[in-house]
Subunit: 153 residues, 2 copies
DNA sequence: TTTTTAGTCTACAGATTTAATAGATTAATG
DNA sequence: CATTAATCTATTAAATCTGTAGACTAAAAA
């Protein structure tokens, strides 16, 4: 299960992607609109900024905005910032490899063999899904739902 | 990242699968051979027993053993017992669905749409990988490694 | 240049989860 | 009835998660 921190962060990114190139957005507005504790959100956005995904400006007219286009930001990049590596075990992580302390022979560890497949399957999805893709899927889902509602009426 | 508890549990299951139908195995032996804290292992095995994956016998000649054949125990079943649901967000869990508190409209939530795909990808792997499959892959990996060693000499 | 605005940094604190340990109890065998 | 080995209850230390408070810094406007 992903943490609230990650959920909040992804929500914020989707929110910012929706208003891409419309100038900086205030933390306070984002927190209010998405129902996220403001101080908590601050630290999340800061982490996203330090990783290069977001940029910010201080003072009047300031706020947060995407550091590059929604097409160039993947869910995988964002998730790694907030949740850490995708891999279920560190010995199969591509971005944060480390030997498992419990593990004897890495080449013949059954758990590792399976978890390598799991990691790759997760990465295949989140590293190929951009914020732009997410916006499109949301729009599609909203259309579908609208039709369902119309159908009901 | 999966917890130590889950790693220990999976190690124990693979260990027991290797000796399937050779009678009950002592917690103490398992703990020693796999380098798992004995008391911690006790509680893990008990949970696996309560879920039906393992069976046990008390007293002399007792111990733990697989409740069914290694072909009929999947990694997914075991992981769910120790780690909980596979789904990255509870609103896409097949075995433990619950509405996300942060979520407004579930049908049009972008995070949900992506995480549903992730859950399905994970489930596709772990629900179709049995303990028998893992044993086979280990055997295969050991063969490969042996050849590599031979080649070096 | 002072004031206002809004992000940044430091520190902390409560709640929950993780990873264990200790000891008493129960059930099965011989 | 003694021995064996799983089971149950309780506790604990450490880590992580979630959230809060307040001082600090940079930028813009008055």
């Amino acid at each position: 299960m992903i943490s609230k921190k990650t959920k909040y962060g992804l929500k914020a990114l989707i929110y910012l992607a929706r208003q891409y190139e419309q100038g900086p957005i205030l933390i306070a507005d984002l927190a209010r609109d998405e129902n996220i504790p403001k101080k908590f959100l601050e630290s999340i956005l800061l982490a996203l900024k330090n990783s290069g995904i977001l940029q910010s400006r201080k003072g009047k007219g300031g706020g947060y905005y995407l550091g590059r286009s929604p097409r160039q930001i993947t869910m995988g990049q964002a998730i790694r910032v907030m949740e850490g590596p995708l891999a279920p075990v560190q010995c199969v992580s591509e971005t944060a490899y480390a030997k498992c302390t419990e593990c004897g022979n890495e080449n013949t560890c059954g758990i590792r063999l399976v978890m390598k497949d799991v990691r790759d399957a997760i990465a295949k999805i989140v590293d190929h899904t951009t914020l732009a893709d997410v916006l499109e899927r949301i729009a599609q889902a909203e259309l579908t739902e609208k039709n369902v509602v119309d159908f009901c009426i």
